[in-house]
Chain length 370, copies 2
């Protein structure tokens, strides 16, 4: 073993073909689909040391830097020798989600049947679809059982669903800042974000130009998203009521507070790296999350899980209040599952799982390693 | 005294004329301005029993039904014989705020200089401007001192400002669901709402047609507003994750949860009664709220207040967390003010002050009466 991350690369793999199509939970069909993914650390000869890491709404497969791409990733502080996702021991796999826009098949992909982009003809996706797409990838990689599934937010939803759908294929799960079912308030926030995109005149029913998409709508959606990912406490300490904002891309409406310039900046930043149709599809996938759906309720859904579970809540999370994590951990424990609750004590809100890596390593390390 | 509300009517009064213009805090000038208002109960011969009630963002002067208008008002359960705002004892006055769209001068009023609507040429308004407009009305009504000033949300901000600006003119204040300064998170929510309006192609820089305004943008703004006025707890009990929504005016994006139909309904409802430019101006006025601005900080601002103060927080309020009310009550008490904190224990979120009238009567009654 060395002190550097090994065997790191970016791959793409077909997960659906005309002879083996992907049928979504709602019965729609994809004859062609691929997932982009990256890996860190070496897969053992017994193929039993793989950890599936799953990204959140606007994430991608680039969870950490590696030899082929030294740009830091969204989980940079968690992947590497001696870290919770220890590349000296584990083979970490992170895909770009089906429906995404960073290498995997999504609504802006070309539909081979028409030679045009799918756009809104792309099938509706649920959290269960996102999990099944990744299972298909694991099948093709010859990985029948994972050491662990780890994810935050939308990724945490999938970790729970993975354990419910494929109990025999996962050794433990770590859902962070997530829930057994998405809250109505969360659906409400997502819906407002979708409406900002849908009302942008450049949206054109999803058939927008490559050169001129619904940038304003997507940026406004992101601004609202950012509020829900952070906390008032954080905004108070970072911006307070100051009006020195250095970001002036958006025309002001009667002065401008720093917090506004910050939101504009974050909105514009997302537009440069994310697609509006993917945003619509993946927020709707979040909304679909309900471990009890078509299973007779949440408790019956949780009953399908037997993997040891570490639910991690975030003290200042307003999008997934920690009570939701505590709720499913308590439920699982009552059902006899080896379930634990840990908390990130942080002002960073929902985003804490992308920021407070020291705490997260400490909370997760032993559970992953054991 | 009788058991019915007395002397109730709707009036309009000029508060600015070319010889006595209204100069805003930012130095802009209105040569013509009027406020619409309604009253309940009889003004005493000593003119010492008046209570100024102040509405929130999209409110109006119609706080309760009366002989001239039997439609219930937004504070219906609080005004009348035996209620906290006891019309057997008090003369209650409620104006439509300057900048509003329900009878008072606002951005959609005709600018006499041009014969056209002001629209975005209307001066920027601050909470202090809204208070000074009402002081001008009280001057014209010959009311030199109020028994009390009562308001929730934006109205509560004004109650605090009133006490700081005119300590000799108010006997006590009751700010409900409010704060000594608006939070950066609150500004952020307001900014996203404004952006939804500004990006609507029908907005046309504020010069929209009377027949075709930025309805979609205003509705989306309202949807977000409604989320912040309520609580996840309430949404869970009212809608949960049900999909039986009866409101189908907005085309769905891949199914529809009830909470979404509810937001669409609330958005459309606001569009029928409220103006987009007023929404922009009054959200910006909210943002301006800082009792310490140009006064050397919050503590120095609060030092101007000597009126007995009853700050009422709401247990489930996410827009004005109760900690903000507790904060200014504690401050005032340290400064020697007769200040008290009471709480509405309610799942109704910020809107509790428009819903939980039994609790509110109980919390306020003695303080107002004494």
């Amino acid at each position: 073993m060395t002190a550097t991350i090994q065997r790191c690369s970016q791959f793409t793999r077909a997960i659906a073909t005309p002879t083996d199509p992907f049928i979504t939970e709602h019965g729609e069909r994809l004859d062609h689909a691929k997932l982009a993914f990256e890996t860190w650390g070496t897969l053992s000869s017994r193929r039993d040391n793989a950890i599936l890491l799953i990204h959140a709404l606007t994430g991608d497969s680039h969870a950490a830097s590696h030899q082929a791409d030294d740009v830091p990733g969204w989980f940079e502080g968690m992947i590497g020798p001696g870290k919770a996702l220890d590349t000296d021991r584990f083979h970490v796999i992170c895909t770009n989600l089906l429906g995404g826009c960073s290498g995997s098949t999504g609504p802006r992909s070309i539909d081979p049947r028409t030679g045009q982009r799918y756009n809104l003809a792309f099938p509706m996706l649920t959290v269960r679809d996102l999990v099944r797409a990744q299972i298909r990838l694991l099948d093709r990689l010859g990985i029948s059982r994972l050491h662990a599934v780890v994810g935050g937010s939308l990724g945490g939803m999938q970790a729970l669903e993975f354990a419910a759908m494929y109990p025999e294929r996962v050794g433990r799960i770590v859902p962070i800042g997530s829930s057994a079912y998405f809250s109505p308030q969360g659906i409400a926030y997502n819906e407002v974000q979708r409406r900002a995109i849908l009302m942008d005149p450049n949206f054109r029913g999803g058939e927008y130009d490559d050169e001129q998409g619904p940038d304003q709508g997507l940026a406004v959606a992101r601004m609202l998203g950012m509020i829900t990912y952070q906390s008032d406490e954080l905004m108070k300490s970072r911006f307070g009521r100051s009006t020195d904002a250095r970001y002036h891309e958006w025309p002001e409406f009667q002065k401008r507070f720093d917090i506004e310039g910050y939101l504009h900046y974050q909105g514009d930043k997302l537009v440069r790296r994310f697609d509006a149709n993917s945003y619509l599809y993946l927020t709707r996938a979040m909304d679909s999350h309900d471990i009890g759906w078509k299973r007779g309720g949440v408790e019956e859904g949780l009953r399908l899980i037997d993997a040891p579970t570490l639910g991690i809540g975030i003290s200042s999370d307003i999008l997934f209040p920690r009570s939701y994590t505590i709720e499913f951990v308590d439920h699982l424990r009552k059902l006899g599952v080896d379930a634990h609750y840990q908390e990130l004590d942080s002002p960073h809100g929902h985003d804490a799982f992308l920021v407070d890596f020291d705490q997260l390593n400490e909370r997760m390390g032993d559970f992953i390693a054991r």
